[in-house]
């Protein structure tokens, strides 16, 4: 079920009605759990079984981990959880990719190999809930958290519908304590939650789908002749803004939806296009994934404690898996590796030049921020292009002054307006939270912004386009 659909509006009204009329907290949680399964099943009912498998396996593994003291047996239990969760993820998400690459390898070796191409449908949000449940088992294994005592609470943690299919990826230590006492949003929390939902839908429906997607689609689906540099840059910037508005829009809706129900979810974005450098970018972009990768991959690998070379390897390896997490394709892997490379270069530069005065000036910081934005945007080419030939065509077109012009003036104006607005808002919110910025606005200004977003949604009549991150 998509947030930007009529079905969700009706569903949410019913859930809110039940949530606030039922008096028993246990019944409230049961209502939320049932609603979450309905939310997921509304996309493809059989795939609810995968959620149940994941929930049951991690529940029983964690239970056994607490009882078991022997390191060997504990490792065995952890292996069961990893094998089941990553096995399901691997089959549904990477099955075709592995088969294709195996076939290519056999061809290369001159060994004839023909395999039927299975038609595997990717269950929506599998990467998100797999990482979420894994984090619980890993925390119990490393004794960072206690085992959850209530199966209902745990099942709700795995399945909670606002963030089930595209994050934020919530840690058990953040969510499970919220299940202990009854959650009811205060009057102002409820209103603020609605504001968040409106903002998220505006980002998705009006900005990403209506004003940005057409230019990005045209440029990234172009084939044959090289494009004119201007059209290429506009298309690249359009996708850069689109992926932010789409994904941040989902996260904002999720946070707002949860808040209306009295639950708090972590931020997932913090003005990433005003990041100064790549480590700063990853502190601001998809925060719950980057902290997950840091805590469960980078640090266990040794982090930066085992010398420079090992640190650089850890960064590259973590970003390689980060790229692979996004999709079963070599273009995603290259995208991840490039970000790993940028982090490596930044790490080395910080070691070699720890105290450059320019970096501390306002203009210097702005310049570095813009450079970061441009490099991040250009790197999105690998993320968005379906294959290397499209990516190469676009890279070749970035400085081609005689290429084909394909973008109408209207779309150029739309993209320019949104990108400039986005950059201004990110720089304005660089050091502050949205909440603080809104608090400083007079009430009439908030009403103007809110009603403008609502009117934008009404005029746009957003069709229910799926969120880009659903495919991950």
């Amino acid at each position: 079920m998509l947030f930007n659909s009529l079905t969700f509006i009706v569903f949410f009204i019913v859930v809110l009605g039940l949530h606030y009329t039922v008096s028993s907290w246990k019944t409230q949680k049961t209502v939320l759990l049932t609603a979450s399964y309905i939310f997921y099943a509304a996309w493809n009912p059989p795939f609810v079984i995968l959620l149940w498998i994941s929930t049951l396996v991690d529940w029983y593994v964690a239970k056994a981990l607490v009882r078991e003291e022997g390191p060997g047996k504990r490792k065995g239990l952890l292996f069961i959880s990893l094998a089941v969760n990553l096995g399901l993820l691997g089959f549904f998400k990477y099955g075709n990719f592995l088969l294709e690459n195996f076939k290519a390898l056999m061809d290369l070796a001159g060994i004839p190999f023909e395999a039927a191409t299975p038609s595997i449908i990717l269950p929506v949000g599998i990467s998100f809930y797999t990482f979420q449940t894994l984090s619980y088992t890993l925390d119990v294994y490393f004794r960072k958290t206690d085992r959850c005592q209530s199966f209902l609470d745990f099942a709700l943690y795995v399945t909670f519908f606002p963030q089930l299919v595209a994050g934020p990826i919530v840690r058990a230590v953040d969510f499970l304590p919220q299940c202990i006492k009854p959650r009811r949003a205060t009057r102002d929390q409820f209103g603020w939650g609605l504001y968040f939902m409106t903002l998220g839908m505006f980002q998705k429906v009006v900005l990403a789908d209506t004003l940005l997607s057409s230019a990005a689609d045209k440029v990234f689906s172009h084939s044959g002749t090289a494009l004119h540099f201007f059209d290429t840059w506009i298309g690249v910037l359009a996708f850069s803004a689109q992926i932010f508005c789409d994904f941040a829009g989902y996260s904002t809706c999720a946070i707002g939806t949860a808040l209306c129900l009295g639950f708090i979810l972590p931020d997932n974005f913090r003005s990433p296009y005003a990041a100064i450098g790549f480590s700063d970018f990853w502190r601001r972009w998809h925060i719950t994934l980057s902290t997950w990768l840091r805590d469960y991959l980078y640090i266990p690998l040794g982090g930066n404690r085992r010398g420079t070379l090992r640190t650089l390897f850890n960064l590259m390896f973590t970003m390689f898996l980060g790229g692979l997490w996004h999709g079963a394709s070599w273009t995603f892997i290259v995208w991840g590796l490039l970000h790993g490379f940028y982090l490596v270069v930044e790490h080395l530069l910080r070691q070699c030049f720890p105290d450059i005065a320019l970096v501390k000036t306002r203009m210097g910081r702005f310049g570095l921020g813009m450079l970061t934005f441009l490099i991040v945007s250009v790197t999105w080419i690998f993320f968005r292009a379906g294959d290397f030939s499209t990516a190469c065509l676009l890279f070749g077109s970035l400085f081609n002054f005689n290429g084909t012009q394909i973008l109408p003036t209207l779309e150029i104006l739309q993209v320019s307006g949104v990108v400039i607005g986005l950059l201004c808002s990110h720089w304005y919110l660089h050091e502050k939270h949205l909440e603080h910025a809104i608090q400083n606005l007079p009430a009439w200004w908030v009403v103007t912004l809110w009603s403008t977003m609502l009117i934008g949604l009404i005029v746009t009549q957003g069709g229910a386009n799926a969120f880009i991150y659903f495919q991950f």
């Binding site: 659909s5 603020w192 708090i264 005029v459």
Partner: protein, 353 residues
Amino acid sequence: MRSSTSSFKTYELTRVVPKHHWVLLAVLSFAIASVFTLGWEMYWRSKSYIPTLNDTKDLWASRREILETEYNRTVLIGASRLLFDFNMDVYEKAMGERPLQLATVGTNPNPYLEDLANDPTFSGTVIVGVVPSLYFAPGGPPMDSPREHLKHYREWSPSQRSGHYLGMMLERVFAFLNEGDLTLNELLQDLKIPNREKVKTSPELPPYFHGVDEKRQGWMWKFAAKDEALQHRIQQIWLPLFSRAPPPPAVKKTLKANKARVDKIRARGGHVVYLRLPSTGQLRELENEKTPRAEFWDRLLSTTGAPGIHFEDYPELSEFDCPEWSHLNRQDATKFTQRLMPLFKELRDAGKM
């Protein structure tokens, strides 16, 4: 990614609520948006728009899925001419069965024919509307549209299904909920901002000028049938769209594929009937030049062995005038279908449908 080894989970889970009276702000904002919606609705009604269903992929899927249980229904596939020009009430009255309308605007219906041929349960009659320049198009938007419709039908989720029924409830009330003409995107297009000199864009498509009902009976809007300025605008859009002849390899491929598909459907006891609907004016001249009958229509019938009805073969079918050269107005569509019925009955009596 931080290049430090700092401890487990560093973000703080708090959510500050800005100090405002949020319920009051919500009420005010939603009230302003409601007043705007009312004004927006009145404005478009004053411009002759009336509530109508959007001809969406959901609506198409809701018709296609009927074939999952009613295997021998008569199905209409084709482009907008079959959607506008064919009155299903008339057909039902004459033939005793209501056909399923699966024709879509700007479409090469070959993917639909392929879908029906490959459906092992389908054993009904397919009436195929043929617009040669679309029917033999090798790819591009005329092929993308049916493929997208079929993909949507195959992946139609329970959530999309309920959204479709909720959407129809609103579309029956609000005239501004017109996806073809009145979305922000369409309104921005109407600004007609000039493009750079060398920009290669797709040819302009005609504005939305038809309505559909829940069973996908289409019709040309009244004001499109009367407004000469709009008709002239649409006529000028048709000319570049119909100015390309399908390449010979694509024609050969289409003929071969049609033969196979017709045979498959016939083998299960089904039938295929081709239908060429009227076009007039300069557009008809252009069609005769780019897609001459002998090379396209006649070859299609001779290759497949399927029966066909060409409007020019029957005086009673060729005396209609299309207001914008390509489609009949609503009244003429009814008359035209009435005149088709004896021909269909003949085919039925001959066991050809």
